[in-house]
């Protein structure tokens, strides 16, 4: 950290770094807000979605110019399908998750979508509890297959209706889900290592 060489250009600037281009309200006090300083997102698309899904969608927001919507978990796949068929969002860029162990619904699931026709990228964000089984997106986008397998591999979120819900990067018999926050950085499945690699893990 400290020994990282920094160029002369980055002289000790005043305490709030990078504040110059930001709206002062969000950054001027020494403590920035603990939540995302989002702005509402309104467009023809949000109107369309609001008409169709009503209170299934909890929020339309925008942060740093990137639009996203927060939906109830059961509505995520219908929204994906609606966006693909009615609004031309035909490319599922990515599915990923983030772990917040202190929350009752500990995972945030993210679907990143892009539309070739509109040249627009949006995200769908939904919170799921540990053990809940969100529906698979493979019924809408073929690319969801491996992406959901990776989310399962790393977070242990099972997707209902997925054709092949197995681990993808780690061995099938591996114990634990590495990207959960309680999983240690150098933690590994000692039993698996001993049985399959014939070595003591040394940790």
């Amino acid at each position: 950290m400290a020994d990282e060489p920094k160029p002369e250009g980055a002289e000790p600037v005043a305490k709030p770094p990078a504040a110059a281009a930001k709206p002062p309200a969000a950054h001027a006090p020494p403590k920035p807000p603990p939540t995302m300083a989002t702005t509402p997102w309104e467009s023809d698309l949000t109107k369309l979605l609001k008409d169709r899904f009503g209170d299934q969608i909890l929020e339309f927001a925008s942060y740093l110019g990137q639009n996203f919507l927060v939906s109830k978990p059961e509505a995520a796949i219908p929204i994906l399908e609606f966006l693909k068929l009615e609004a031309d969002f035909d490319y599922l860029v990515d599915i990923t998750a983030a772990d917040y162990p202190k929350r009752p619904e500990r995972f945030d699931l993210f679907y990143i979508l892009y539309s070739f026709g509109r040249n627009e990228r949006i995200r769908i964000k939904t919170a799921v509890a540990d053990g809940a089984k969100p529906a698979t997106a493979t019924t809408v986008h073929a690319t969801a297959n491996w992406l959901e397998r990776e989310v399962f591999d790393m977070f242990g979120i099972q997707f209902e209706g997925h054709p092949d819900m197995r681990r993808i990067l780690l061995p099938d018999e591996w114990e634990g889900f590495p990207l959960r926050k309680e999983y240690g950085l150098i933690q590994q499945d000692d039993r698996w290592v001993r049985e399959n690699l014939n070595i003591e893990s040394g940790q």
């Binding site: 950290m1 603990p34 599922l92 983030a98 990143i112 491996w146």
Partner: protein
């Protein structure tokens, strides 16, 4: 054993890899064959999994920067650019114009290096031994520029969050220009060797077809998508680092087969030369580092930023909790997602074409497994 097994017409399961010269790393493919015909495949990946995304959560933003080079190590500069842009987005800063121009030059050089490695090994897989030597000869010149610039040839760590750490060295422009002048005729030479070569054409034409619709369904991007006729390149669609200032074309083709992907990538190398020449001619003067504090601590929030890497859309989704360490870093790796379409491409084809199709996808296992 019953004697009839010899004449049995059951499926033959053939294991390919992980230690196989044509899988470009540690990819294992289980092929189900009916005679010469491929009935299905299963990819076993993860042999190179290092938990890069987990490491990110345990390092500061600055410390994690060199790790990203180890994913797509053939195009390390692109990885670094994507990561720096994502963090700069969260910090809401922009690199100064001089840094942006240098970034464009280095990433385009890296695109050429990556495509050269692809061309050499792809041709080698198909049985053309010669191109690999020529490709590595020219790639060496690119790596020399990297070495002169930042001391490293492969995992360069060329960029920093907010700009550059090293000023461009004396003679950088001349070396880049000399490389462009030297390189452009070489592309024609490669094409002379391959483009109309009868063996090359018959091994590639009509092999591993992926239509535009299938590409979109599988999320396949980069040259594979463009070969299917979709004129889409993030450098044009959502320009970053000042790509909008440069004049270049997006090469496309129509059939979406292995041969088209070859022609698209060849043309991309020429377009990269075009970009480098324009960028070198007008490198602005000024600072090379933006206003980023010594401690990188983005406000709480999340952002997804992606760039056009040599292999496709390379994205970084970063969640910040206003600490010095990222809360979550997700890498959207083009190789991983493009590889998923392998099954679709080889199904129904011949077993000999599997090697050609793996080559044409241009995967790097360091990025597939992360």
């Amino acid at each position: 054993m019953p004697e009839a097994t010899f004449l049995d017409s059951t499926e033959l399961v053939l294991n390919m890899g992980p230690q196989h010269p044509s899988t470009h790393g540690v990819l294992r493919v289980i092929l189900k064959l009916d005679g010469e015909k491929v009935m299905g495949t299963e990819c076993i990946i993860g042999y190179l999994h290092r938990g890069v995304e987990k490491i990110a959560e345990n390092r500061t933003y600055v410390m994690f920067n060199p790790y990203v080079d180890r994913m797509d190590y053939v195009a390390a500069v692109s990885n670094g650019l994507g990561y720096c842009l994502a963090i700069e987005k969260l910090l809401n800063v922009e690199a100064p114009p001089r840094a942006q121009a240098a970034r464009v030059i280095l990433t385009e050089l890296n695109r050429i290096a990556s495509h050269l490695l692809w061309l050499g090994t792809h041709a080698l897989d198909i049985g053309a031994i010669t191109p690999v030597f020529y490709c590595f000869r020219e790639r060496e010149e690119v790596l020399k520029i990297f070495e002169n610039y930042c001391g490293a040839r492969l995992t360069t760590h060329a960029f920093r969050i907010g700009g550059l750490v090293y000023e461009l060295y004396d003679g950088f422009e001349q070396e880049c220009r000399a490389f462009c002048d030297m390189f452009l005729p070489k592309v024609d030479e490669y094409e002379e060797l391959l483009t109309n070569n009868r063996i090359w054409v018959s091994r590639l034409k009509g092999i591993g077809i992926l239509s535009a619709e299938e590409c979109k369904d599988y999320g396949v991007t980069g040259p594979v998508l463009r070969a299917a006729g979709v004129k889409w390149d993030l450098r044009k669609a959502m320009p970053y680092s000042g790509y909008e200032q440069y004049d270049f074309d997006i090469p496309t083709a129509q059939n979406g087969d292995t041969y088209d992907r070859y022609t698209v990538r060849m043309e991309e190398m020429r377009q990269s030369v075009r970009i480098i020449r324009q960028a070198v001619d007008k490198i602005p003067s000024g600072p090379i580092m933006g206003k980023v504090g010594k401690v990188v601590k983005p406000p709480t929030g999340e952002a997804y930023v992606s760039i056009e890497a040599p292999k496709g859309e390379l994205g970084y989704f970063v969640v910040s909790d206003n600490s010095t360490q990222p809360y979550r870093v997700r890498v959207r790796p083009p190789s991983f997602i493009n590889l998923q379409a392998l099954d679709r491409m080889v199904r129904g084809g011949l077993v000999a074409d599997v090697v050609a199709i793996i080559g044409t996808l241009d995967i790097v296992l360091g990025e597939v497994d992360r």
